[in-house]
Symmetry: C2
């Protein structure tokens, strides 16, 4: 069996992603000798103990990080600043501090200044998830074949970056490094905007008058059903993502809105060629995804 990368791994947050990491550690090995789970509530930790996916649970994050050589922030990104504030003085020298958040400039802004001398800060984002949340939702194959993007600040110890990369490879992921602002723009269009749109259209449907609303539910054809699936994702996690990738998200939403208005105009004036051309682009993107095996 492969020598584990870390002696003690502390997971601050143990929802879908945190509990999936814990399951990889337990089921595949190679990640850490000991996994310590921390959560905001004792009820969550009780579930973690019942599931048997961590070696130890700690309600106090400062106790969870004690003696850990790897600490992963697995909470909603809006909770990072408070978690880093509380735990920074307790991080062991030489420890790697990393995360799994969907926004990377905000993490560097909120956590970066709090990282003590001698601790290696390597922001990371596994592009994996489902619409389910909580410790029961995780599974050890969540990261298989999915990308994990690292956005280390300039001057980060290359050995620490490589250990985090190896950590994610052992979780089954492909790893790539990116500039944080570029990461946030790409994620705004491939993930954050689609979620914002899915949440919004479900709200639009929910606002319909009585009878129509009932029939929306009854006759949900495939298009709408797919949107509701996306829209079932964790509210606090996504609220924090939107608030912490504001500029890129608003820019992509503005571009999308312009394009939707152009489509509306084409529908109003019966511009069949324009509509068909826009639809064909969607097909082309899909085709490219299939060729890249991302579909």
């Amino acid at each position: 069996m492969t020598e584990p990368l870390f002696r003690r791994l502390a997971l601050l947050g143990i929802g879908l992603v945190g509990s999936s990491i814990a399951r990889v550690a337990r089921e595949r090995g190679g990640l850490a000798d000991e996994v310590v789970a921390n959560a905001r509530t004792e009820a969550t930790l009780a579930r973690v103990r019942a599931l048997g996916i961590a070696d130890r649970t700690e309600l106090d994050p400062t106790r969870a990080v004690e003696g850990a050589d790897c600490v992963i922030l697995c909470a909603p990104v809006g909770a990072y600043a408070a978690l880093a504030q509380a735990t920074a003085p307790h991080l062991a020298p030489g420890c790697i501090l990393t995360d799994v958040g969907s926004t990377k400039q905000s993490v560097i802004r909120d956590v970066g200044p709090l990282v003590p001398e001698g601790v290696h800060f390597v922001p990371a984002h596994p592009l994996a998830g489902t619409e389910y949340s909580g410790p029961d939702a995780g599974f050890s194959t969540l990261f298989d074949g999915r990308w994990c993007l690292l956005t280390p600040p300039p001057g980060t110890d290359p050995d620490a970056v490589e250990r985090v990369a190896e950590f994610w490879r052992r979780c089954g992921s492909m790893v790539s490094t990116m500039e944080p602002d570029h990461h946030d723009r790409v994620l705004a269009i491939v993930s954050h905007l689609p979620h914002l749109i899915a949440f919004t259209i479900c709200g639009t449907a929910d606002d319909l008058e009585g009878e129509s609303r009932q029939e929306v539910l009854q006759f949900a054809a495939s298009g709408f059903r797919d949107f509701t699936r996306i829209a079932a994702s964790d509210p606090v996690m996504w609220r924090d993502v939107f608030l912490n990738n504001r500029e890129a998200l608003l820019e992509m939403l503005a571009r999308f809105t312009e394009d939707a208005q152009a489509m509306a105009r084409a529908v109003r004036w019966g511009d069949a060629t324009y509509i068909e051309d826009r639809i064909l682009r969607g097909r082309k993107i899909r085709q490219s995804l299939i060729e890249l095996k991302q579909a």
Copy 2:
């Protein structure tokens, strides 16, 4: 075995839906003694013969409908007027003329006035489909457990309506009757708008500058991937749907755009409560769908 409902069934158009009907007729029986397939091109009919899903193929729609006691328009809704114009004089007395189009007011507007005395016109819409198209894409379980909505004009022979209802029940569907304008509003929000949005966001992503565009493809997270799946649907069919449900689609798009702008404003000004509330509505709709077993 059940006595077939019709002696000769003519399918004008043999793509995903038409070829699925043909397969139900072949594999389950109970629909028709003979299935005649018509398509715009000889190439499509050659595929139909190779697949062995019809008893006869006819390139000329007037020959396809000859002697048929049921004719189903299975082409994109924009092609209905020309098909009805050509075939109306050749429809047998007592024949049932129906369709599978996603817009019902336009079908009544385009086809209704052309229906000869003695022919029963029963517009219908099976809420079933995939992102694939053409005669190879069909399968006999496509309609199982899905709704089929009938929108018969006032004064339609109740026996004809019942035969079409029974036809769809034998295809595996649940059947309901609706006013055509109400149908078009409900479908605008559950199906047409989600497709318009999916096509649009794929176009928005396709317009990104070189490097980002490449990474959109490479890192397509789950949100965007689901949108590209919807966006892979047949361009001509959807172009026709948009153009033939203009008023309802534009109204739902306007409502959605207002809601998206309100969300943008909440993101810009950091209104966490508003964002969370809108996300929670999406969840609630999803939960209702699961309870109704539509998810």
